[in-house]
């Protein structure tokens, strides 16, 4: 397993990765509370962007309902905790299961009829909105009034109950993001990863080579939504409150996929890069426009910035930067280039 994961990764990229990881591990020692909160947000979007990327970037499935999977995961573990006192360390299993089941249900319904592309995207939006309205009307879980978690002991490190300081959440998210990166790396190098990319490029050709398209798409949507469900646990316990209006909002989905698209869909590091770049950028924009006291001005420029990036770099920023740094052999796409000279 480790051998497949390392295959084709040049030493230079591994060193760069190790440096970045060390910097991220050490970061809480050097930054203030505000910067830490930005980093937490960045890691959250890196993780969720990676999960989303698994569907669109690897298997070519455009989901615009990522918020549904995160939201369901959030509500599952928060509900268990609040109503039955089940700690999130156990509750997360329900979260992952519920989100994965929701993903599988959407996938099963769509892929049976070969609903793809824009149609699949619209179906995911429909399901997401449907769920939002249902939860909005579900009084047991707070409905539109929101679900609030007990806030106690925000200083320590109670991992079992996910009660603690922002630093704890930071490290939890860092571990999740690293784990997600490794998982994606492993999956991409596996048979499933080859099959996903083949399906993304040409479904009929993939079928003719024995690829069970339905099963592979189901795997993509299930794994990805289950992973998003796990992010929901952190979302719930970090914010301590949940509102259907925000958790299941289309804008929440957009925030999650933004980093991945800007970083580079289909690349392994693009989602992480994109989130680490965009989140501070968004914060900077907030800071810069705060003084204007004009509601909407931040969103206005945000929209302009995103549109400009899409127009300027339709393949995302990461491939270009990776090329410039000589790190672009991280992606499996280039393994062959190595083998040409080696093996």
């Amino acid at each position: 397993m480790i051998e497949t994961m390392l295959a084709g990764a040049p030493r230079r990229a591994l060193v760069a990765l190790a440096l970045l990881l060390s910097a991220l591990v050490a970061a809480p020692l050097f930054v203030n509370a505000y910067a830490l909160s930005v980093l937490i947000l960045a890691l959250y979007y890196a993780y969720t962007g990676q999960a989303w990327n698994m569907m669109i970037g690897f298997a070519g499935l455009l989901s615009l309902g990522e918020a549904m999977f995160v939201g369901l995961g959030a509500y599952a573990s928060a509900g268990l905790f609040q109503k039955f006192g089940v700690p999130p360390v156990l509750g997360l299993f329900l979260s992952v299961a519920v989100s994965a089941a929701a993903g599988a249900a959407v996938g099963w319904l769509a892929f049976r009829f070969d609903i793809n592309g824009v149609y699949f995207a619209l179906l995911t939006i429909a399901f997401s909105e449907f769920t939002r309205i249902l939860v909005d009307n579900w009084a047991y879980l707070g409905g539109s009034e929101g679900l609030f978690l007990h806030v106690s002991g925000l200083a320590g490190w109670d991992i079992v109950n996910l009660r603690g300081s922002p630093v704890m959440f930071y490290y939890v998210l860092l571990a999740m993001t690293s784990g997600m990166f490794l998982l994606c790396r492993y999956l991409l190098a596996s048979r499933l990863g080859y099959y996903w990319r083949a399906i993304r490029e040409d479904q009929d050709a993939a079928r003719s080579l024995g690829v069970d398209v339905f099963a592979c798409k189901m795997a993509a949507v299930t794994i990805s939504s289950g992973a998003a469900g796990l992010a929901g646990v952190v979302y719930a316990f970090y914010y301590n409150n949940l509102f259907p209006e925000t958790a299941f909002a289309l804008s929440h989905s957009i925030d999650m996929l933004l980093g991945a698209v800007v970083g580079g869909v289909g690349t392994l590091f693009g989602p992480i890069f994109g989130a680490l770049l965009l989140t501070p950028l968004g914060e900077a924009l907030t800071a810069a426009t705060d003084g204007l006291r004009l509601p909407g001005v931040k969103q206005f420029f945000w929209g302009v910035v995103v549109a400009a990036i899409v127009l300027a770099r339709p393949t995302g920023l990461w491939p270009m930067i990776a090329g410039a740094l000589g790190l672009d052999k991280v992606g499996l796409d280039k393994v062959d280039a190595d083998e040409k000279s080696g093996r």
């Binding site: 009829f113 399901f127 509601p295 909407g296 969103q299 206005f300 549109a307 899409v310 339709p314």
Partner: protein
């Protein structure tokens, strides 16, 4: 109380015609340019603000403002396609989506900056009048609004059916390469189409102010509503959009009576999901 139900259903159907007209704008654009206009609702909110402004400043009836608002939206749509969307036509779906979502964000923010967060409405002299037809009571505003929606939709159908430009646009939608081969100016026709789609939702926006008040955050709601209608009727089918609008108007009214009013859009989405599952191409759509 069958008359009460009939009143509610008819009132729903009348609103449904306006929804249908708005959705027609989305459908025409997707059917030809193959772009899902995720900024649909936000553009429509712009049209609603413009109408409100004209009505309140000049004392005109919204239906008199309609041609002007539609024309403004036409120009906006034409330029949007020509200078922005054309450049992402070759990009994958998710890039197009993100660009349109960014546009939607920008538009909402712009409305917020220009018009403020308050709700703005128009006051109509006939706002409380109604027609009595046997046991039925029909709001005058709704009847006018629905009639206007039907007229605009009818003009559009006629345009696509009989005018040379309309036929050329349809040819573009059916066969892009073929249209290029026979020498149609596809770029211009696409821009025209986007303009016409925008004009449609501009007209719908102008009519919509007769029924509800305007505020900057309405956009996503209308975008989603138009999606539901268009998928229901069949993406790219013009008659399907109007039919989908009627169905949603009915179902919202029905859900409002049978369940809680807050669940009415859940009802629409449930309907949509069912349709996608049993007839993915929509009610009047052609199988891909």
């Amino acid at each position: 109380m069958p008359a009460t139900y009939a009143n509610i259903l008819i009132s729903g159907a009348l609103a449904g015609l306006i929804y249908g007209l708005s959705a027609l704008g989305l459908s025409v654009i997707f059917g030809v340019v193959r772009i899902v206009n995720f900024a649909h609702g936000e553009m429509m909110v712009g049209a609603m603000f413009l109408t409100t402004l004209m009505v309140n400043a000049l004392g005109l009836d919204p239906l008199l403002c309609l041609p002007v608002v539609a024309a403004v939206l036409f120009v906006f749509g034409y330029l949007l396609q020509r200078f922005l969307i054309e450049r992402v036509a070759h990009l994958p779906d998710h890039m197009q989506f993100l660009l349109m979502a960014a546009l939607a964000t920008t538009l909402t923010a712009a409305w917020l900056m220009i018009f403020g967060p308050e709700t703005r409405g128009v006051r109509l002299s006939y706002g409380y009048d109604s027609y009595e037809v046997g046991p039925l009571i029909l709001d005058k505003t709704r009847v006018f609004a629905a009639a206007a929606a039907l007229v605009v939709a009818g003009l559009l159908f006629a345009f696509f059916r009989w005018s040379a430009t309309g036929k050329a646009i349809r040819a573009c939608g059916d066969n892009h390469t073929g249209a290029l081969v026979v020498g149609l100016d596809v770029r211009k026709l696409y821009a025209l189409t986007f303009g016409i789609g925008a004009m449609c939702l501009g007209a719908a926006g102008a009519i919509m102010v007769m029924l509800i008040d305007t505020q900057p955050y309405l956009g996503p709601q209308y975008t989603l509503l138009a999606f539901v209608i268009v998928i229901l009727g069949g993406l790219g089918s013009m008659a399907g959009a109007m039919l989908g609008g009627l169905v949603i108007g009915f179902s919202e009214a029905l859900a409002g009576v049978l369940f809680q009013p807050s669940l009415k859009s859940a009802f629409s989405f449930a309907l949509l999901i069912v349709i996608l599952l049993v007839r993915p191409q929509g009610l009047l759509g052609k199988r891909a």
